[in-house]
Amino acid sequence: MIENNGLNDNITFRTEALTKDYITGETVVQALRGVTLDIPKGDMVVLLGPSGSGKSTFLNIIGGLDSPTSGEVYFKKDRLSDYSEQQLTLFRRHNVGFVFQAYNLVPSLTALENVALVTDISLDPLPPMEAMKAVNMENRAHHFPSQLSGGEQQRVAIARALAKRPEVLLCDEPTGALDSETGIVVLKALRDVNKDYGTTTIIITHNAAIADMADRVIYFADGQVVNIKVNDNPCAPEEIVW
């Protein structure tokens, strides 16, 4: 499966025998059971798999939000577990854009301010309003999260991730709450960022159709990678049949 034994800048993420156990009282949940794979730079990757198969866990670990129980994660040439707390912070701040499954907007900030919260600490961000436009949310920019629908909140969360123009975009079900029309707008935005800036993009989804636009589709089941499909001819987001 590993295309290149030596690490180089063309591989954004590499994981080796990654496992993650959650210990809850007396029961142990093996969320990941030995995940080894490479994610090449600039790829648009889609993660598919049944609920509970470990997709979010995987994304959290490579995004530096959680640490594995065993195994290694490499970001380009660096081993993530070698990072100090400060390096990890900088990694999250400058390299990763994350769209959380639960959106996690700050309730006391407006949509636009939620985006600004991230651009405030980025090196070369988009103007927050640009990011809002990219997800068709410019009209609701000054609303508070509690005044937005679930899908609108989700789009703000995506705008927030896009706005910092990160090297990698990690999206946990970014279209889960969206209708096909808005979903396509969002996917287009993700595709554009991916194309324009060469952003490595990983998208978790339950919608198999979205896989058609990916360069690479990784299938999870039961905490393991069961299949990887390389798509030589990804289609455009507009062509996706929802």
Partner: protein
């Protein structure tokens, strides 16, 4: 940079303004009591020191029978003595027209043609005495104020058996009489005791003391040995009937002032330290929980790349707002109340000038202390949230591992409704939090008990003093010892129901190197009026042999029952005796020794004589009796105990009680602040869960039951905790408030406990109501949208 984060800060603060206000209040109360108490104590101490210094308050004092002027030179030659002032001091009886009972006074000589070297006077109004001026006096301000005397008014007094009418030419204050206590009086009574000054030569002539003096005041060199000077002075004065010399620490006024200041310092230390510590603890707990409710947001901030430092700074800014506002309010309130309280103390401390002093150190310390508590609380909470991997922090409180609770495991579960089970599981699943909340509410309650106990204690003290120990209506003191037959004369006076003899003799008590000036009071073996009380505060028999010492006096002398003490009698032939301590008796005020009157007289080698009497009077006859007493020159002093009790309440009690009242208000505010915060935080921690329950069909009442059920359990547990800690604080306070002047019994009324419970319950009810209004506003829809 980070503008969005600052906006979040401002809006978050605004959203929890109620809680922030409550924390600010707790902090301000803690700081204010601290600054107020230290301010009062520092201000009074400074006022005293400045006064003593500017008006040359003497270092060593002595009284004697009579010595010729030339002896002054001999005293001046004692090594270490830098200045000597010799005077004539004479006790007088004053007749004030609009007062039935007589007043007593002291007439002090002023050198003609120069200002005194020591114990100089502060002239409030009028002028000083001219050299050799006849018929003119200076009057102490306290006495003048009490009677409304002004310049030019005449006072008639009996001096050495002759009635004289003297004109007031000046109103003055003296460092020797900051606290002015009449002979035999327990408390200062400015109506019944006054101090007056007149020309030395005029006074000498009036009392047949030409070219002689009977009172010495000394200033000693810095660094010289007071004990040696006292000894030397005693040797010089011995041939002239000198009584044992004493230093400032035994000078009556100064001793009282010192004792009051000590008391104030204890109160001013104990109470505010407790308040501040409790406030700091509460701020800490509340801040920790406040920040902990932001755990998910902290996780998100970390996930998008904010560093721990930036996140900490963000929340510390929030704390800083609270701390800054709390400090400003606390300092302002503390200074304002402190200045007011200091002013009130001048009712019985006669200082000419009040110097306010609020030390910067005290302010800085109290502010830093609270700040530190708040900052540590915040950092703990941030630490807890920030050490978690962001993925975990963002997970809204991992589904908790519920266990069957202790009560359920004990098989009591069948008695519990499902709702109650939810409540009890919440209480049990977070033992540390439950404990801290319980402790918080308990502590806020305990300071309330602590604040209130002072009044209980003083009331109790007065009951013991006046209803059990000194049950007489009047105490009379004679100018000279009289034969016991004088009792018969008194018995025949109008309205007298019962008379008991008193024989008081001034002594110096010694045991090893401990010594204390006091007096031995001879009373009947089984007195009915002036009684002594045993350790359990029951009337005790006066021992047939030996001395009965008050427990404090025994402590000062380091003696126990059965030990021998040396008694140096400070009167007449001045015998030195060795007497065994036969009994230790309880007394909350003063340092007294008691003895069987016959035995005392035998020890003094005297027949059956008395120096005073305790009297029970039919109140209807008060007027005629006082009139009669006023006419008898042999009666030097008369103390009306009912009046003493009133004065105690008015002067000492009231000032103390004002401080108590302030503390009670603060303690109540703190209670409320803590309980409100605890309830409000519980709501923010569980708002979502409660909203879900509402969506599932629970009524508001049922949701409130879950929310407040937990709080109610905490409050119920906190009550015994609060009562216990409160009582411990009372014990601690009673132990530290143990001065020679005055002991505070550790006495807490049931009412105090009751009131503190009521305040806590009321705070809870009010907090529940306020939080309940927020429960009503839980937006079920937005709660389901995943927005907190």
């Amino acid at each position: 940079m980070m503008e969005a984060l600052n906006k979040k800060l401002v809006r978050d603060l605004w959203n929890i303004k109620g809680q922030m206000l409550a924390i600010i209040m707790v902090m301000a109360c803690g700081i204010a009591t601290f600054i107020m108490s230290f301010g009062v104590s520092d201000s009074l101490t400074l006022s005293r020191d400045v006064y003593y210094d500017r008006y040359q308050f003497a270092d060593v004092f002595a009284q004697l029978k009579r010595a010729p002027y030339g002896v002054r030179q001999q005293i001046l030659e004692i090594p270490g003595v830098s200045a000597v002032e010799v005077r004539v001091v004479f006790g007088v009886t004053i007749q004030v027209d609009n007062m039935v009972e007589p007043a007593s006074g002291k007439l002090i000589s002023l050198p003609d043609g120069r200002t005194p070297l020591l114990n100089n006077l502060y002239l409030r109004s009028g002028r000083m005495i001219l050299p050799d001026e006849q018929g003119a006096i200076l009057c102490s301000e306290a006495f003048a104020t009490a009677h409304g005397f002004t310049l030019g008014d005449r006072i008639s007094m009996v001096i050495n058996g002759h009635k004289r009418s003297l004109s007031i030419v000046g109103i003055v204050l003296s460092p020797e009489y900051v606290y002015s206590l009449g002979p035999g009086a327990m408390f200062p009574d400015d109506k019944r005791f006054g101090v007056f000054w007149m020309s030395q030569r005029s006074l000498e002539a009036a009392v047949d003391m030409n070219g002689a003096f009977n009172d010495v005041a000394i200033r000693q060199d810095r660094g010289s040995n007071t004990a040696v000077i006292k000894q030397e002075l005693d040797i010089v004065l011995k041939p002239y009937g000198g009584l044992v010399a004493y230093a400032r620490d035994e000078q009556m006024s100064n001793w009282f002032v010192q004792n009051e200041l000590d008391q104030l310092r204890v109160m001013g230390l104990f109470a505010p330290v407790i308040f501040l510590a409790v406030a700091a603890f509460l701020i800490n707990v509340v801040m920790t929980r406040q920040v902990a409710t932001q755990r998910v947001q902290i996780g998100m901030l970390k996930a998008v790349g904010y560093s721990n430092g930036e996140i900490s700074r963000h929340y510390l800014k929030m704390v800083l707002m609270v701390v800054v506002v709390g400090s400003i309010v606390g300092i302002a309130a503390g200074v304002w109340l402190g200045a007011g309280m200091t002013n009130m103390y001048t009712d019985f401390f006669h200082f000419p000038i009040l110097q306010f002093s609020f030390s910067a150190e005290v302010m800085i310390f109290s502010v830093l202390f609270c700040t530190l508590a708040a900052v540590i609380g915040t950092l703990i909470a941030i630490g807890q949230a920030a050490t978690l991997p962001p993925a975990e922090a963002m997970r809204p409180e991992s589904p908790l591992q519920f266990r069957r609770t202790l009560l359920e495991r004990m098989g009591l579960e069948k008695y519990f409704s499902p709702l109650f089970r939810i409540v009890i599981r919440h209480v049990e699943r977070r033992p540390v939090r439950t404990l801290l909340s319980t402790l918080g509410v308990g502590l806020s309650m305990s300071i309330l008990i602590f604040a209130l106990f002072m009044e209980d204690s003083i009331t109790y003290l007065m009951e013991v003093q006046f209803d059990m120990a000194q049950r007489q209506d009047l105490s009379l003191g004679f100018t000279h010892p009289r034969a016991i037959s004088a009792l018969e004369e008194i018995r025949l006076m109008p309205g007298v129901i019962k008379v008991e003899p008193l024989r008081r003799v001034a002594v110096l008590l010694k045991s090893e190197h401990y010594a204390k000036r006091s007096s031995i009071l001879g009373i009947r073996p089984n007195p009915d009026l002036h009684r002594i009380l045993d350790r359990d505060l029951r009337a005790a028999r006066v021992p047939a042999q030996g001395l009965a010492l008050s427990s404090k006096l025994a402590e000062v002398l380091h003696v126990r029952r059965g030990d021998l003490v040396t008694v140096e009698v400070l009167e007449d032939r001045r015998p030195i005796l060795k007497i065994r301590v036969a009994e230790i008796v309880e007394e909350f005020i003063g340092l007294n020794a008691f003895m069987d009157i016959d035995q005392l007289n035998r020890h003094l080698n005297e027949g059956p004589v008395i120096t005073g009497a305790s009297i029970m009077v039919d109140p209807l006859w008060n007027g005629p009796l006082y009139q009669k007493i006023k006419e008898i020159p042999a009666i030097a002093s008369m103390n009306i105990l009912r009046k003493a009790r009133e004065i105690f309440r008015e002067v000492m009690g009231e000032n103390l009680l004002k401080m108590v009242a302030i503390n009670v208000v603060f303690a109540s505010l703190i209670s409320f602040g803590v309980i409100y915060n605890t309830a409000r935080i519980a709501l923010s921690e569980r708002g979502r869960e409660l909203a879900s329950l509402r969506v599932l069909g629970l009524t508001r009442g049922e949701v409130a039951y879950i929310l407040f059920g937990e709080m109610t359990i905490i409050i119920l547990m906190a009550i015994p905790v609060g009562l216990f800690i409160g009582y411990m604080m009372v014990l601690g306070m009673a132990q530290s408030m143990d001065t020679e002047l005055f002991r505070l019994p550790a006495m807490v009324d049931k009412d105090t406990y009751g009131l503190s419970v009521i305040v806590v319950v009321l705070s809870a009810v009010l907090s529940f109501y306020l939080v309940w209004r927020q429960v009503e506003n839980i937006d079920l829809v937005s709660a389901q949208k995943g927005v907190e």
